[in-house]
């Protein structure tokens, strides 16, 4: 019997991981990636951390290398959601959306950095991921935009309701 070690150089596709990702919103778009690298050339996260490479993340998704993407010290949290990659991608893969789906998979497992927990808390209490501040409204005024109003919290609470019911089942 060959030991597992003998096969270490063979890419093992984690199909369960790929199926789980495909069920997320836009999670299966990576299938169309042809590895051109247009997403990398202009990625601010890559500029600061050469470890973060959206093309490589899409490749790992294609290979089904779930373990290398999802985990306690996942590199995915370095993505700043700037959507530059989305703008550049000729295949309309939407790398940023795939990365968000991967983040959601980690959140499902309860593995996310403390800062994310804080953002969730802010959203639950204010209805926003970035809390409203005078500074924001001053900037909006300068740009000729109307001031932001507080979010109607009863509606936000409703958003959470079905989730709780599901949890009870």
């Amino acid at each position: 019997m060959p030991s597992e070690k003998d096969n270490d150089d063979v890419v093992r596709v984690d199909f369960a991981f790929r199926r789980e990702l495909a069920e997320k919103v836009e999670g299966n778009l990576a299938s169309f990636c042809y590895q051109c690298g247009a997403c990398v050339g202009d990625c601010p996260a890559t500029t600061y951390s050469s470890e973060f490479n959206p093309r490589e993340i899409m490749l790992k998704v294609l290979y089904g290398l779930g373990d290398e993407l999802i985990g306690g010290d996942s590199i995915l949290w370095q993505c700043v959601n700037c959507y530059n990659c989305h703008e550049r991608c000729p295949q309309e893969v939407k790398p940023v959306e795939v990365i968000i789906s991967l983040k959601n998979m980690m959140a499902d497992r309860g593995i996310y950095p403390p800062a994310v927990k804080k953002i969730i808390h802010t959203f639950e209490t204010t209805g926003r991921t970035v809390p409203l501040s005078d500074a924001i409204n001053r900037k909006r005024e300068k740009l000729g935009l109307p001031p932001l109003e507080p979010v109607p919290m009863d509606e936000i609470e409703k958003l959470f309701e079905p989730l709780e019911e599901e949890g009870e089942e």
């Binding site: 590895q35 051109c36 690298g37 990398v40 050339g41 530059n84 550049r88 000729p90």
Partner: protein, 800 residues
Amino acid sequence: MADDNNGPRIGVYVCHCGGNISEVVDVDQVRDFAGELDNVVLSKDNTHMCSDIGQQLILDDIKEHNIDKVIVAACSPQFQGETFMDVLEKAGLSPYVVRMANLREQCAWPHFNHPDLATQKAKVLVNGAVANVRNSEALERQSMTIGKKVLVIGGGIAGIQASLDLGDAGFEVYLVEKDPSIGGHMAQLSRTFPTEDCSACILSPKMADVPANENINLLTYTEIDDIEGYIGNFKVTATKKARYVDMDKCVACGDCEKVCPISVPDEFQEGLRNHPAIYAPFDFAVPHRNLIDDTLCVRCGNCVDACKEDAINLDDEPEQIEFTVDTIIVATGYDVFDPSEKKVYGYGKYKNVITAMEMERMIVAGAEGNPIRNPGKKIAFVQCVGSRDEQIGREYCSRVCCMYATKMASLLKHSGPHRDVYIFYTDLRAFGKGFEEYYKRAQNMGVKFIRGRVAEALADDPEGRVTLKVEDTLTRRIIESDFDTVVLSTGIGLSKSTDKVADMLRLAKSEDGFLKEAHPKFKPVDTNIEGVFLAGTVQGPKDIPDTVAQASAASSRAIRLMNRGEYPIEPIVAFAHEEMCDGCELCVAACPLNAISMAEGKAEVNDALCLGCGSCLSSCPTDALDLHMYTNTQMLDEVTNALKDKKEGETRILVFADDTCTYRLADSVGTAKMSYATDSVIIRVPSGSRVTPKLMLQSLALGADGIFIGECEDRTSPFPHSGEAIRENFDAVTRILEEEGVSPERIRFVSFVTVMLGGFVNNVDSLVRLAKDLGPIPEDKREALVKDLNAKLFGVRTQA
């Protein structure tokens, strides 16, 4: 087995297709079932009906058993229909008394996971086909005379090659070019890959051969206004634009150019140089004569005074010309992608970001010792600009950019070995003869090939160096580097001027926007319109050798039709049952092709004009109009038999599939093994507009739970206005259904293109679901639908 000496003697042949059918469908059951049907004299099965042995089986049975009508239950008639028509003809029968029941694409393949249901459906299809063939007419193939004149549209290398081939073969050619000279894009290129022949040097002798050929009428600076008619009789109207210069007198000395006060960017030079309002297109133009661009000329008269030959006439007028041709070759070529659409590359904003065609002109000018500007020391080629890019709706590869970039990089390196030349590519495609070797040579010369799609081009100074940001995907390095010149390797798309021609000739387009060939493998230069052929990039991106090969192929296909002097025509045309026609003339107005006229108070169809769509049938209040091969009797018989064995609790919808798109689409769905509801029966019609309101209502009355009509989208349909005709029929049927309290949701009309596989499946499935939800139409309502049907339809029609 029924053996009625008076009726037709039908032979049924069920094919295994080497397992493709028999592994799913129980062939023995189908064969035995068919044997019991009325007028079926014998029923057999065979592993390969299309093989010589299969064909011989039919021939022998026709001889020994006096079979006079045949059903082949095998694959799609789109594949083997012609084969079996030929078999019948060989046996001395009419080729139009054979039908194919499509057991492979419509049963075995889409329903492979339900063998029982597939078998049951196979029986339904055979039953329908037998009913259809029973009253089929012994039509004969007809022919008409055809002449030897060809219109070639477009004077690029494709049009030139096609014209020369045709002219040499003794056919009379009208070569129409909208620009003042022939030559096309090839005339602009520096050299050709991978051999690096000078483009102008190899092209100009061919251009000169065109006016020298006695069989070619060269019409430059001429636009086609209209084309009417059909193979063997295309009437062409064109306008020769005013040149204001007498072609017989002008010697292109250039004296007039020197005195012209106007100076505008020269299109041939990609705007890198200017030319006056009176100019010669380029130095090896054919015809090499000057002309005045009417839109630029200020009528100062300087040139008139300067011309020693007295060749200039400022009062020149455009001239309309008319001629008829027998076949047409469309060679209208491509337009280069406008890179200003891709804002990230800064074309139009930064002076040193240029297109590949601009670089071609710069290289030519440099080689001629008259440089336009120096591209500098560090040069980048950005590949896939306007290719393989879903953002701009161009999914396809333009096929020439990798090699032309390699060529120009090599030429730049050759003329300046000190230069640093980079090619940033997505995937490098060196697929042609000598291409891989050429790629390797460029690498050896020191051209740097970097695998990475450029993310962005930036420059602080619009006149200065340009910074490119790109990932080298093979080393994972991010490159951010400055270049003296950035060349955008722009892709190619169908030329704008083609649209007008395509509309006039009703030519279909493929999904990539290029004109569509009749078959991607076996009819690569034919089109959906008989007698019209494609040559060159109008059909899809290709390089010069492929374009020339295709042009020769197109001329050869045209010669194939014309050479015999006669051309076979389909007898599938409309006709009038004289005794039933009451001369109301409604059909005359209904025909979009004006193929119907009145003769002695009766409708008469012009066989040469009629395309056989069948849309006139719906207009006839007395059922006098009919369509050969798809007669009212045959269609009703087929529908009746297709619904005959429907049992209590079963659902069955009829899918009337037009031959050009929907039937083929269903074949593609089957080939892709995509499954859809087995409760659907596909009935082949030439066009959805053949399905009259009467046939729809009769179908529902006979037990159909839903009716689905699929038709080509108008732009790809060979039948003009079929969509409109179908909608009118639907309006009439909808009103009657509403009056009788039957849900009009049961009838559905969808326009298809042949690639909408999922759309077909979803539509069939959802209509079946709906029909199941609605349940069967009650008996009394079904009877009511067809009661006094003609009067009812007439009432609805006059209301409208």
